[in-house]
Symmetry: C2
Subunit: 481 residues, 2 copies
């Protein structure tokens, strides 16, 4: 049994700041009051203990109130990605079997294709309040959230994340990152992704302030990191780069109190890590996914330099191994075990066991070095096999990201009659670039078969709401003119 | 399932300092190597997975190696109090059903009355090593340690403390106290008490250094607190007072990096808290016991001044309530629930359920104030009922402790023909004191019926190995001339 998060937290540290958004701040007891009022209004809309509700809206303060309201009311929350198409949303709503979908005003059209009952947020707020019975304690295996896998590969599956999953993730994280009385975590990740939601979970479990942005804002984030109003932040490579550029413009460095830049969603180019070091930003590369309720491995600050590029070691309560690997350096699929791993899916995949022999197969390729540090090489689905050689797109991206004229780069395989597949690079350039020069740049740094056969200049790369590169979509581009 | 503590920790942060004792230091991987060697030697002495072993020895580095060796070997450890009499030890060994007792050299005579197989530590160290099979993961309900309740009241019962108990205690604690990369916890508590053992558990779970003293040393502790070589420490009122006296002598204050003085084992006199504040020592009063694997409630640093004298609020995963209390301020027996509460006893009390309706009755009297802060008034067994009035010894002790001529004070009830019982005070004075003056001092500050009817001057007070006052023994003194 785990205490009801917000009830317990509002009891323990009622007057600590729980949330800040724009110029507004809420303490934990204020957050509880907001959430409780909304929970009673949800009850008036026939949503009660054990029901499943889908949420569609922006990642703002009201969404935080709604999420906590649903948890207080004992609802299972299907977190819908607000960037999905109508069709995708209708599919997920249908698959999830949600009793209703709560839609923030202005997004009504996005659920028009669905048959599920729609509750407009402004209407819910106007509802009367009906008394609800609060659970003081939660079962550890209660499903708290359901997130459809981001769809960077394959078919979307509704992943169950239990109270125990979220709690063990947050606790493992605190043993890894530490915790101080004055910690403030900057959340510029969507709350419907585990990267964002896990920050809310840490907030109530730790009694820590979340500084929430509705959208990522490099200028504002750089300013807060420089002045010390935030001490931790979650990023992906792209957003890290943008913050670094802001700091570099002003020749500024992070405030002494800034402790952790948690970088997930794929490998961070070595060049970015060097630049972050110059800006006094401790970047901790992390490796996690929806199925593991966030972080599963993280590179400790003390190893950041020595093991640059590694995803570190598993967090204390987790275990990681490489399938069929016998020795350090052997590459293979990454397998994960621990209390943070999902017990399973809902909907169409409800019968699918996420585990094989007790381990979660991730579809990612990685290896351990001699000291037991994990290196994620690439997603197995993204592997380019060219003339029998394995090529990892991230390796090529790392090289090109260091080129001064390149802002962003994504690499994938393109079908090729002779080699099966060859690498192709999509580039967002800061000015004009010559293909010959790029080829030469790569040839100096990569084996010949790894050098992209094609360079395409584009205005932007396909990314999901967490700014994670969508290589699957990139692959579709290879077929376009 | 929980990862084998030391294996996982030695993998995650092999080169961090795990332990320092005197001038020596050991990293986690060195600690593992030491423990593993000893575990193999225990195996050569026929101690294997699932067996129960009793340990009798000082709280030194070798004891830490032995404790970890036993955990690696999968043994259940009965932690024997080295200050017990031969008879008491024989009773506990018999009750515990231990396969063997490992005795440090020089303490052989203390187990002479027992029939349990004795292993002398020096002999074990000379044994050959036999290979053992290490468990990578532990069941959460595995019994790790057994501690006989300190015996401040009633009959000693062997309390089971599981992996899950210790882990949830350490995790709750970290959410309460925070954690920094450079934390060092000074352990001057006996390792056979939960106050000491819990520091070892935190060390492996957090990856934190333990600075171990075989015996409490006020001069050395004050020095380390002043220079910042330690950042946290566990004390009882008496040892806190001694450290304060050392700092006061030199007009010194704690180093800025010193974060937590965790004060348990009974209420700390208000006067000590004021003095600690002057020495810049953040005292966090805590409330816990063997049956809850250490801390169950703690007063946060931010509340230390405002709620002086309170034991704070429950830690995040715990719950506390007052039996039959309806309102704030209602006094009654303190009841505890949570993952840190023992599943039960061994030996003679194996059938005794420690819980009543799911809650652990503590035998302590307390109340919650309007804001939900817990105040422990006294142990129920120590309550003095005088002419129908409840008198809490601690209240009187608090008053007398503030008297400049008093070093230590213990109060208990003495049988009285007219009143049933009356308070009597035992005093360790720094010089000569007049009874009349003490009576007047009390009369100014306490209701008449609470003023001790007798003051007895003694050289020292009866205390257990954690320096906790033994009021039961004090009570026996009241019968003596």
């Amino acid at each position: 049994m785990i205490p009801n998060w917000l009830l317990q937290r509002a009891y323990l540290t009622p007057h600590k700041i729980a949330l800040s958004f724009g110029d507004e701040k809420w303490t934990f007891v204020q957050l509880k009051d907001r959430a409780l009022t909304l929970a009673r209004k949800l009850s008036a809309n026939d949503l009660n203990e054990g029901d499943r509700i889908a949420l569609l809206g922006p990642s703002n303060a009201e969404m935080v109130f709604v999420i906590h309201a649903c948890m207080l009311a004992g609802l299972e929350i299907v977190m819908l990605n607000s960037r999905l198409t109508e069709k995708e949303i209708a599919w997920q709503l249908d698959d999830s079997g949600a009793s209703a979908v709560l839609v923030f005003d202005g997004l009504e059209n996005n659920v028009a294709q669905s048959n599920v009952q729609t509750l407009l947020f402004s209407k819910v707020k106007e509802s009367a309040e009906e008394p609800i019975e609060l659970q003081e304690q939660w079962e550890s295996d209660r499903t708290l959230t359901i997130m459809y896998t981001s769809g960077t590969t394959g078919f979307p599956k509704g992943v169950r994340q239990t109270v125990g999953n979220h709690v063990s993730s947050a606790l493992s994280s605190v043993l890894n990152l530490g915790l101080a009385e004055d910690d403030v975590w900057l959340c510029a990740m969507p709350l419907f992704h585990i990267s964002g939601f896990s920050i809310l979970a840490r907030s109530v479990l730790y009694g820590m302030e979340v500084r929430l942005y509705e959208k990522f804002d490099a200028i504002q984030a750089a300013k807060e990191i420089q002045t010390g109003t935030v001490t931790r932040m979650s990023v992906v490579a792209l957003t890290l780069d943008k913050i670094l550029r802001e700091l570099e413009k002003k020749d500024a460095v992070a405030h002494l109190s800034f402790k952790t830049m948690l970088a997930g969603g794929g490998p961070v180019p070595v060049d970015y890590l060097d630049r972050a070091q110059n800006r006094k930003i401790p970047v901790l590369q992390t490796y996690g996914m929806t199925e593991t309720s966030s972080q599963t491995a993280t590179l400790a600050a003390s190893d950041a330099i020595r093991k640059i590029g590694s995803a570190g070691k598993p967090l204390f309560f987790n275990q990681i191994k490489i399938k069929d690997a016998n020795n350090a350096g052997d590459k293979g699929e990454v397998l994960i075990r621990g209390p943070h791993v999902t017990p399973g899916y809902i909907g169409r995949f409800i019968e699918l066991d996420p585990l094989e022999d007790g381990w979660l197969p991730t579809g990612d390729i990685g290896y351990f070095d001699e000291e037991g540090y994990l290196y994620i090489v690439d997603r197995r689905a993204d592997l380019i096999i060219s003339g029998g050689e394995n090529i990892y797109p991230a390796e090529i991206e790392n090289v090109l990201a260091a080129h001064p004229g390149i802002l962003e780069v994504g690499v994938c395989g393109q079908e090729h009659a002779e080699w099966g597949s060859v690498p192709i690079a999509f580039i967002v350039a800061s000015g004009s670039l010559e293909v010959d020069e790029l080829t030469a740049f790569c040839e100096e740094r990569l084996a010949r078969y790894k050098v992209p056969k094609v360079f395409r200049f584009v205005d932007q790369l396909p990314r999901n709401a967490s700014n994670k590169l969508l290589r699957r979509e990139l692959k579709e581009w290879t077929g376009l003119k």
